[in-house]
C-alpha cells in the first residue's frame, strides 16, 4: 500500500508551469490573505474540480472554466457530477479554534483559584487584559487589511496568559497597555498567528517589567480582593522576591524555612501573580491538554526537572545561600511557564527531542536568572530567550527517519 499513490492521478495537482509553487499565497506575505481567493486561484491542489462541479456554483463567474476543461478532457457528457479530491479525502475535526478554546478550559482551574484568592481585583485584571488583546487583534487586522481571525481564540488565550502573569493589583492601564503590547508587538508585528517567534504574552510581560518595575512587583495578599477594589492593597514580597532580598542584604537565606509546601501546591495563601500560585490547579489543566494531545510531556517535564536538578546541585554546594529544590519548584511562575507558556505551539520546537532540549534549556536559564540575575523571577526571560533559539534547535535536532541510521536505532 506504500506505493499506492505512485501512478499520479491526472486530475490531481499538475501545477501550471513547472516552477510555480502549488499555492499562490506566499509565506513571505506576513498575513494570510483572503483564503477563499487564493484557494480559487491556486492550481486547486486539494479539491480540483475534475468535472463541472457543484463546487464552483457559489462563484458563478468561474463556472465557465470547468466547462472548458471538461471539453478538453473529452469526458462523456451524461453522468453525474463528481467532485475531484486528492488524498487524504478526509481530515480530523481538529481546528485552531478548538485548540485555543481547549487551552482556555485548561486555564480555568488556575484562574478560579486566582479569583478565589484575589477577588474582584483578579476579575478586573483578567477582563481588562483579555479585552485589550481581543480589541487590539481585531483592530490591527482590520487596519492592515488582514483576514479578521479574532474569533479563533488565540487572542483570548494570550490575554488570559498575560493576565495570569500580572500581579493581581496591577492598575487598569498596565492591563490595557500589556494587552496591546502582546498582540501589537508580540504577534501582529511579526505577521500574526503562526509567524511570531516569541511568546506574545511573555514579550509583553518583559516589556512591562522593564518599563514599570514597581507596578509589576507590587503584590497583594490573598483574601482581600473582594473587600477593597484597587485601594489600599496590602503589599508584600513574593517568596522568590524575599529570597533575593535576603541574599543581597544578608548574604544568606532564611525565608525558605518559613515556606510551607502546601501553600505552593494549593496556592490559596501565597503571594504571586494572578494565575501562578496554585501548582495543583495548573497541573489539572495541563493533564487535560496532555490528554487531548495538544501538549506532550517533553517541555513541562524537561523544564521542571532541569530547575529541580540545577537547584539541587547548588543547594548541595551551599544550603545557606541557595534555596532547596522544592522552594524553586513551588514558587514563582514555574508551572504556569512550564505547562502553558513554554509549550506555546507557535514558539516551541515541533519534534519531541527538540521540545525536550527546549524545556531543559528553559529550566537551566530560569534557575540562573532567578539566582544570579537582577530580577527575582526568571521564567519569562528564560522562555523568551530560548524561544529565540528554536530555529537553531530545529535545524540540528531532527527525528531519526524510519530506515535511516539503522546502527543508531536500537
Amino acid at each position: 500500500m506504500a506505493d499506492e499513490q505512485t501512478p499520479t492521478p491526472a486530475p490531481e495537482p499538475p501545477p501550471e508551469g513547472a516552477s510555480t509553487p502549488p499555492v499562490v499565497e506566499g509565506s513571505a506575505a506576513p498575513a494570510p490573505p483572503a483564503k477563499a481567493e487564493s484557494a480559487e486561484t491556486a492550481p486547486a491542489e486539494r479539491s480540483a474540480t475534475a468535472k463541472p462541479a457543484g463546487d464552483a456554483a457559489d462563484k458563478p463567474a468561474k463556472k465557465a472554466k470547468p466547462e472548458k476543461k471538461k471539453k478538453k478532457k473529452g469526458l462523456p457528457e451524461k453522468e453525474l457530477v463528481l467532485v475531484g479530491s486528492s488524498s487524504p479525502h478526509v481530515v480530523s475535526d481538529e481546528t485552531i479554534p478548538r485548540i485555543m478554546y481547549a487551552v482556555c478550559i485548561a486555564l480555568a482551574p488556575a484562574i478560579l483559584v486566582g479569583i478565589y484568592c484575589f477577588g474582584l481585583q483578579a476579575v478586573k485584571v483578567l477582563l481588562l487584559t483579555a479585552a485589550a488583546c481581543i480589541a487590539t487583534e481585531a483592530g490591527l487586522q482590520r487596519l492592515m487589511g488582514r483576514k479578521i481571525t479574532v474569533i479563533d481564540g488565540s487572542a483570548l488565550v494570550t490575554g488570559l496568559l498575560l493576565a495570569m502573569t500580572l500581579p493581581p493589583s496591577a492598575p487598569w492601564w498596565i492591563c490595557t497597555i500589556g494587552g496591546m503590547l502582546a498582540i501589537g508587538v508580540g504577534k501582529q508585528l511579526f505577521g500574526g498567528l503562526a509567524h511570531n517567534p516569541f511568546n506574545p504574552a511573555l514579550i509583553s510581560r518583559v516589556i512591562l517589567l522593564i518599563s514599570w518595575p514597581v507596578e509589576l512587583t507590587t503584590w497583594m495578599k490573598p483574601g482581600q480582593g473582594f473587600a477593597n477594589l484597587g485601594v489600599d492593597v496590602v503589599t508584600a514580597a513574593t517568596p522568590l522576591g524575599l529570597m533575593k532580598e535576603e541574599l543581597i542584604q544578608k548574604g544568606s537565606i532564611h525565608v525558605v524555612s518559613q515556606f510551607h509546601l502546601m501553600d505552593g501546591l494549593f496556592g490559596l495563601n501565597q503571594l504571586g501573580s494572578l494565575g501562578e500560585t496554585s501548582v495543583i490547579a495548573l497541573l489539572v489543566g495541563g493533564i487535560f491538554l496532555f490528554y487531548r494531545g495538544y501538549i506532550t510531556w517533553h517541555i513541562p517535564v524537561g523544564y521542571v526537572t532541569a530547575v529541580g536538578a540545577v537547584a539541587a546541585l547548588f543547594w548541595g554546594i551551599d544550603p545557606s545561600r541557595f534555596a532547596p529544590p522544592a522552594y524553586h519548584l513551588m514558587t514563582g511562575g514555574l508551572f504556569l511557564g512550564a505547562i502553558y507558556m513554554a509549550t506555546d505551539m507557535v514558539t516551541c520546537p515541533v519534534t519531541n527531542r527538540g521540545m525536550l532540549i527546549f524545556g531543559i534549556g528553559c529550566g537551566i536559564l530560569t534557575y540562573f536568572i532567578r539566582t544570579f540575575g537582577s530580577y527575582p523571577e526568571g521564567v519569562s526571560f528564560a522562555i523568551v530567550i530560548i524561544n529565540g533559539a528554536v530555529p537553531l534547535i530545529e535545524r540540528w535536532v531532527r527525528p531519526r527517519t524510519y530506515g535511516h541510521n539503522l546502527s543508531a536505532a536500537s
Binding site: 500500500m1 486530475p11 502549488p22 468535472k51 480530523s92 535511516h404
Partner: protein
C-alpha cells in the same frame, strides 16, 4: 487510546474513525457478470501490458488480452466472455487515461477451454514453476500497491527469505474486503501463505491482523493451530498499521533501510487477497479476473462487499447497492486516506480496487487552509518520523534542497499529517509537488550534463 496497549505496533500513526460497521458483517456477495467490461492494460506498477486482441475478436474469460512486457509487468486477462468492442484510451480508476480493452458480454460467461485445471498436488511443483504460474495468472498486489507478485517472489540468491508476512491489517477506514475474505476463505488464505513460503523458501509465516477484527483473528488462529511455522499477530488499531514498512516494524521490530526493500531483511510481504489469488492460480489454474471490493460511504444507500469482475464499471456496483442517496460528492478508488478520486462512474474496477468509497461533499477537507501553527501533531503522527510541517513549508516555498535534507523521498504519502493538521494544510500535496519538482530538477541537470558532454565530443572531433 492504546496508550498502555501491549499489542504490536509501529511508531507514530493516527486514529481516524474506522467507519467499518456498515460492511464488516454479512457475506461477500457475488456480483453478476457485467454486460460490458473496460479493462485497462496498465493495472500494475511497471510496464503496461501489450494488447494482443483486435476489435471484434471473440474472447473467453481467462484469455490473455494483453501480454506482459518485460519482467516487471503482468499480463491482463478477459474477465468475461464476449466480443472486443473497442481498444483505445479511456479513464481508469487511477484517474488516468490509459489504453483499455472494452469487451461486450455474449451472456455465456464461459472460461477459455483447457485453462482450468485441477492440481491437488500443486505444492509438489518446483518453486520456479509456481512462480511462472503466478506470473502468467497476472497476479499483482491486491492491497492497492499493484506490484507484480512474481517479482516479489523472486529474490536474488544473496538475499534469502526467512519470513513471509501476510497483510490482513486493512487499516484504511471503511474497507472490509480483506476482513470478510479472511472470514470466508480462511483456508485459502492459509494455503496461499504456505504456497508463498514454499516459493521463496521461508521457514516462518505470519498473518498480521488489526485487533478490531477479532473474528478473523480467531478463525485464522483456529486454522493454523498445530502448525509451528505459522502464527497470527494481533496488531493495535492504528493507521497506517498496514503500511508495508510499518507492519514489518510492528511484527519484527526491524526497519527496512531507506531506499531498500523488505527482502533486504529477509522478508516478503503480501496482502491476504493476493495470497488467495496465488493459491487459486496454482491450485485451479485460475488467472486473476475478479476481486473482492467494498462499496461503501455516506453517499451509498446499502453498502456491500462484492466479489466482482475486473473491468466492471463503478456505476454498476453502486447501482447494485441501491445507488446514491443524494449525499454524493466524490467517488474514490480505494480508501479515504490513500485512495484516488475518479473522474467518472464509467471507470472500471481494476486489480488494485480495494474499495469504492462515495463521500459526501461536506466530508471532504476544506479548501482553505491556515499557516502552520507548529502544533507538532503531524510530526507525532508521521509513521516514518519525518517533519511534515517543515516539508509542507518548504514545499510551499519550493526550497528543494531543504526538502531533500528533510528526507522527502521517505514519505509514503499515507496522509496522516494532512489528516491531523488543525490548520488543514494540504501537506501531502505539498510533498508530492516537492517530489515532482526535485525529480524534474534532477532530470534537467542530467540533460544539461549530457548536452555538455555531447558538445565536448563534437569539439574534440572537430579538433
Amino acid at each position: 487510546m492504546g496508550l498502555f496497549s501491549n499489542l504490536l505496533t509501529f511508531r507514530g500513526g493516527i486514529h481516524p474513525p474506522t467507519c467499518k460497521e456498515r460492511t464488516n458483517h454479512g457475506r461477500i456477495e457475488v456480483a453478476p457478470p457485467p454486460s460490458r467490461v473496460i479493462i485497462p492494460v496498465a493495472q500494475h506498477i511497471g510496464a503496461p501490458a501489450d494488447v494482443v486482441v483486435k476489435k471484434k475478436e471473440k474472447v473467453k474469460r481467462g484469455q490473455v488480452i494483453a501480454a506482459a512486457k518485460g519482467f516487471v509487468s503482468a499480463p491482463i486477462h478477459a474477465s468475461i466472455s464476449g466480443t472486443v468492442k473497442e481498444v483505445g484510451p479511456a479513464y481508469s480508476a487511477t484517474g488516468q487515461r490509459v489504453e483499455c480493452v472494452t469487451i461486450e458480454s455474449d451472456g455465456e460467461d464461459a472460461w477459455l477451454e483447457g485453462l482450468l485445471t485441477d492440481r491437488p498436488d500443486y505444492m509438489e511443483l518446483p518453486p520456479e514453476e509456481l512462480r511462472e504460474i503466478i506470473h502468467n495468472a497476472g497476479i499483482v498486489g491486491l492491497g492497492g500497491a499493484t506490484f507484480p507478485s512474481h517479482v516479489k517472489l523472486a529474490p536474488p540468491a544473496e538475499k534469502p527469505i526467512h519470513t513471509v508476512i501476510l497483510n490482513g491489517v486493512e487499516c484504511e477506514p471503511y474497507l472490509t474486503a480483506d476482513h470478510l475474505l479472511m472470514l470466508e476463505r480462511g483456508e485459502e488464505v492459509v494455503a496461499g501463505l504456505r504456497l508463498i513460503m514454499r516459493v521463496v523458501g521461508a521457514k516462518e509465516g505470519v498473518i498480521g491482523i488489526e485487533a478490531n477484527k477479532p473474528d478473523a483473528i480467531r478463525h485464522l488462529k483456529e486454522l493454523t493451530k498445530g502448525d509451528p511455522n505459522i502464527r497470527v499477530a494481533t496488531l493495535q488499531v492504528k493507521y497506517p498499521q498496514g503500511g508495508e514498512k510499518q507492519l514489518i516494524y510492528a511484527v519484527t521490530k526491524k526497519e527496512v533501510p531507506s531506499g531498500g526493500l523488505p527482502m533486504d531483511l529477509g522478508i516478503v510481504m503480501n496482502n491476504v487477497g493476493t495470497a488467495v489469488a496465488m493459491f487459486r492460480a496454482c491450485r485451479y489454474g485460475e488467472p486473476l479476473t475478479e476481486r473482492v471490493t467494498t462499496v461503501t460511504g455516506a453517499g451509498i444507500v446499502t453498502p456491500r462487499n462484492f466479489l466482482t469482475r475486473i473491468g466492471t464499471p463503478f456505476g454498476e456496483l453502486t447501482e447494485l447497492c441501491g445507488g446514491f442517496n443524494g449525499a454524493m460528492g466524490t467517488v474514490i478508488n480505494g480508501g479515504p486516506m490513500m485512495g484516488i478520486a475518479v473522474p467518472s462512474l464509467d471507470v472500471p474496477v481494476i486489480k488494485g480496487t480495494s474499495g469504492i468509497l462515495v463521500l459526501a461533499k461536506e466530508e471532504l477537507p476544506p479548501r482553505e487552509y491556515e499557516p502552520c501553527i507548529r502544533c507538532g501533531m503531524c510530526v507525532r503522527g508521521c509513521p516514518v518520523q519525518l517533519v511534515p510541517s517543515a516539508l509542507s513549508d518548504y514545499g510551499e516555498t519550493r526550497m528543494l534542497d531543504e526538502l531533500e535534507g528533510y528526507n522527502i523521498f521517505d514519505c509514503i504519502e499515507c496522509g496522516s499529517c494532512s489528516y491531523v493538521c488543525p490548520s488543514k494544510r494540504p501537506i501531502v500535496q505539498f510533498i508530492r509537488y516537492g517530489k515532482r519538482e526535485i525529480l524534474a530538477e534532477r532530470q534537467k541537470q542530467r540533460d544539461r550534463q549530457a548536452a555538455r558532454e555531447a558538445m565536448a565530443k563534437t569539439a574534440e572531433v572537430a579538433a
